[in-house]
Symmetry: C2
Subunit: 423 residues, 2 copies
């Protein structure tokens, strides 16, 4: 386990080449895999998805291994960690041990995660960071800050400010429907809270004074013909990593530690953030990174909210879920029944099985399916049936909860206020 | 008089070369004068100051001529215009006729001006835009918005956020001491109001989506190694040109016309602003530009708050004023008494006389001094005596007024609120 923070700081500083393809060489020096990961694009040619070991090396973060999970259990005083952690969906981190140190000393930290509203409806992949974050909040009883990056969508997409706002509110309802605690959770849209918080503005100015335009261009692959909004956005995503941005919650304290659960594609933002932190005498935020939730068509791309058949949406009906999974979910079955019964199905590419690793909480149940499928006893169609049942319940439950989320409830979560914690 | 707005729009769009030296060729094609003017630097080799006719051509703005002043008097229903206007200190404009059209139609506009806090004390030159703006506000009875660009100073100078804030508050007291009306005037610091106004943030985002980084670099001469703060600043100065940034004053109206009195060096900000306005369906702000208030050492440089002997400060004592003027004010006297009596003094370079054109309101008095000096009857020493008396009164009166400006009064002016106007 690599937990040496000095080593990690070095790799933080060294790796500034995001925006270039991630090229892995095989033993003969040939390019065996060319993965590309940045906040806007994820490409891999492998049906098994991105090579995450290589990505850890490339990004300079650290693998979450068994000993870290064991320490987590001891410090958090839990029998077992969340399925998304023990199954390796959250697979990488920066300074997670620093957060565990804080907990051991009885010091409070806070959680920060976010979402870019890309359509009126969220898909299942969007739930992942929130499912895990919710569990972390319950385990540690800490404040949670959720940033909705309406500004990002406004600058990157051909959308009006009004449309982006609408999408943000819809997404916020979806998030609240996951049962976050209103007294412990602050949700904000950037373009609103930035105009409500001098603390946010001052933190932003401090960071903007320290980072050059060439650094931003290099880290994020921007060009000269990109608009100023795009250049400004990484700073807006960096700011909530520092407790100075939320004086109403942290009473002006600038050194409350922050843990950020997020997709690994978001790491470049926080490398920039961690680089400037010491110069501001702020703490570097800690991170836990998740893998990408695969598209129905296979793990060789990220799901896209703009392609309705690539994902199960939280607005889908039972019929739509059934049809999409049966029609589009990439199967790990062999070419013939005979071959399948001989070699067994391939769990590592079968999307129905992959989805169950996210949504079937019962380890024994999942293991039974894995064995039956790998041995060739079971076919993808049968896994799909189990998955359809499972996801229909998840999605319909979500829809019921979402219906009860009124504008007033949304306003409550979004009002800048002190939470129940005492800092 | 050039009042054709189409012509002017063209020159707005054409001239994007700020940041390059302003080179004027004489009749032989030689470089006779090399003036340079941008928001951070003003250089001229001439003791008579910048060649403003050439600057008007270069910037693509329009001279304020007699017929425009005549129209101003008719529309504003005033016997005479402010000395700074009739004496050519405010010498150039963009779309001033559009503002006069509004007044004729009984439509309200608003005034926007500002100040970058560069030291605890303002100098006499800093009063100029405010003196004229105050008169405009009284004549037209319109809201006035004053931006204090603490962010600019923070990004450009090696100063802490705390120090910049302190300087801003001192400067605001100086401005309030000029007798602005608390019910008609809103004064704000950028780093505060940007965190208090969603209207400001949304207007900012709209502009930042439309302007590329290369455009900003070209317009302002920034480099890749400049920090993001510097690149962001021109947008913050642009935003108050649009009434959408002040929903509390303009009730969400986005099309209230804006007139900006400012130094000609500030024009690049508003060329950028005027370029984006039509794409946002906003009105282009109108401008009136002033010449530079000369340094004591002569009109070949702008005064600098960081050189105490280059300027008379509002904190100076009578003795300091006397010593600085006697010791440093550049004289237009001839080399010998005989030559002076033959040729006469040179009003166009004599700083004591120049300062009187700003502060001696009585035209006859000023003309008498001009004639006596030009004829060689009077010497610079005598003009200095008159000036010392005049400025001592101006400065001491100001100090008395400033003493009465409490923190509460400052807070009152800086509170985002509806003014007495109904929009």
């Amino acid at each position: 386990m690599k937990t040496d923070s000095t080593m990690e700081s070095k790799t933080d500083a060294l790796d500034t080449s995001i925006g270039k393809p991630l090229v892995a060489a095989d033993q003969n020096g040939q390019n065996a895999v060319e993965d590309f990961v940045d906040p806007w694009n994820v490409h891999t040619s492998s049906m098994k998805g991105v090579d995450y070991d290589k990505l850890i090396n490339k990004f300079g973060c650290s693998a979450i291994d068994d000993s870290l999970i064991e320490r987590f259990k001891r410090v958090a005083k839990v029998e077992e960690v969340h399925p998304l952690l023990r199954r390796g969906v959250f697979f990488s981190h920066r300074d997670l041990h620093v957060i565990l140190d804080c907990v051991e000393k009885g010091q409070k930290f806070y959680l920060y995660t976010g979402r870019g509203p890309s359509s009126d409806a969220m898909h299942l992949g969007h739930l992942i960071p929130f499912l895990f974050t919710k569990w972390l909040q319950e385990v540690f009883d800490v404040p949670l800050i959720i940033q909705i990056t309406d500004d990002e969508k406004y600058y990157w997409k051909s959308l009006s400010l009004e449309k982006v706002k609408e999408m943000a509110v819809e997404n916020i309802k979806d998030i609240i429907a996951m049962d976050f605690h209103p007294d412990k959770t602050f949700i904000f849209r950037n373009l609103e809270y930035m105009g409500q918080s001098v603390g946010f503005q001052e933190t932003l100015a401090r960071i903007q004074k320290l980072v050059t335009v060439s650094k931003i261009r290099g880290q994020f692959g921007f060009s000269d013909s990109d608009c100023m909004g795009k250049y400004s956005f990484p700073f807006n995503q960096a700011v909530p990593s520092f407790s100075s941005a939320f004086p109403q919650i942290f009473k002006g304290k600038t050194n409350v530690p922050c843990l950020i659960p997020c997709g690994i594609d978001q790491d470049p933002y926080f490398r920039m953030t961690r680089d400037v932190a010491p110069r501001l005498k702020f703490l570097k935020p800690a991170l836990v990174h998740s893998k990408f939730f695969p598209a129905l068509q296979g793990a060789n791309s990220k799901m896209s909210a703009s392609d309705p058949n690539s994902a199960i949406f939280l607005t889908d009906t039972h019929e739509e879920i059934k049809e999409k999974i049966n029609k589009y979910a990439y199967s790990g079955d062999r070419d013939t029944v005979k071959e399948h019964q001989e070699k067994g199905g391939d769990c590592s590419v079968d999307i129905a099985f992959q989805y169950l690793t996210y949504f079937e909480e019962n380890d024994e149940e999942l293991e039974k399916i894995r064995q039956n499928y790998s041995s060739g006893e079971m076919f993808s169609g049968q896994i799909k049936e189990i998955l359809i049942k499972k996801l229909t319940r998840v999605v319909l439950d979500h829809q019921t909860k979402k219906k009860s989320i009124t504008e007033d409830i949304v306003r409550g979560f979004m009002t800048p206020r002190q939470l129940v914690f005492d800092f």
